[in-house]
């Protein structure tokens, strides 16, 4: 398990290669990379700055990964989230999940992303031609996280 918050970029291929190095029990690695877009809510975005809550961020991400491990039989999980100023096209977040079978890997990867979006203390401020603005939380992200709740 690897959880990192950093300003530098990351290398998807290297992270996934590190997960599988020397192992022959992994059958599936599902991964996700979130990227900064040049457009959001109808405005051009020229850059964004990611702020976070040091200490709580790492705790929140660890808890998400623990929750995923409790729900699915996972072999390894890597979460990397960037902070600081990013430009359109820059990678923001990486989640990679290794499992014996693909169903678990896909489900856990999407679960971690959905809860990261609603529970990890990161905030985005976008620079647009109309000025800087803090991104508002989305109801669609709450809905995505809520669908994992069990009765």
């Amino acid at each position: 398990m690897k959880i990192v918050v950093q300003s530098e970029s990351f290398d998807l291929g290297a992270e996934v290669d590190a997960m599988r190095a020397g192992r022959t029990d992994i059958g599936a690695i599902a991964s996700f990379v979130g990227l900064a877009r040049d457009m959001n809510d109808g405005s051009g975005v020229t850059a964004m700055t990611l702020e976070h809550y040091p200490g709580m961020t790492e705790k929140a991400l660890s808890k998400l990964v623990d929750d995923a491990n409790a729900r699915w039989a996972l072999l390894d999980v890597t979460v990397i989230h960037r902070i600081g100023r990013l430009l359109p096209g820059d990678p923001i977040v990486l989640v990679a999940v290794a499992s014996a079978h693909r169903g678990e890997a896909f489900a856990a990867c999407e679960f971690i992303m959905d809860f990261l979006k609603t529970q990890a203390p990161f905030w985005k401020k976008e620079e647009t031609p109309e000025g800087a603005r803090w991104v508002e939380a989305r109801e669609s992200d709450d809905a995505a996280a809520a669908r994992w709740s069990r009765d």
Binding site: G34, L50, E51, H52, Y53, G55, M56, K59, A60, H81, I92, V93, M113, L116, K117, T118, Q119, A120, P121, F122, W123, K124, K125, W134, V135, E136, A137, R138
Partner: protein, 83 residues
């Protein structure tokens, strides 16, 4: 009790402060919020009932009736938007 307060993102900018130490005569998060709202201005506006903000005590999000202990780290911030 003495609390170590942290404010993040839009609320940090609105309040014009990122952290402060605060002496609270009270027992819960609701008591703390009442004290902050009484400062007026952006404090009253942003922390009004029905506004979307979160409170974390010692780095875990809590409800308004959560108890506070001396020396706690209390953070107030907008709904998160990372990823």
């Amino acid at each position: 009790m003495k609390l170590h307060m942290l404010y993040f993102a839009r609320l940090r900018e609105r309040f014009g402060v990122g952290e402060e130490t605060l002496e609270l005569a009270g027992a819960t998060v609701a008591d703390l919020l009442a004290v902050l709202q009484a400062r007026g201005g952006a404090w009253a506006e942003e922390l009004a009932a029905g506004r979307a903000f979160r409170v974390a005590v010692d780095q875990a999000v809590v409800a308004p009736d959560a108890p506070l202990a001396d020396g706690a780290e209390v953070a107030i911030f907008p709904p998160v938007t990372g990823g």
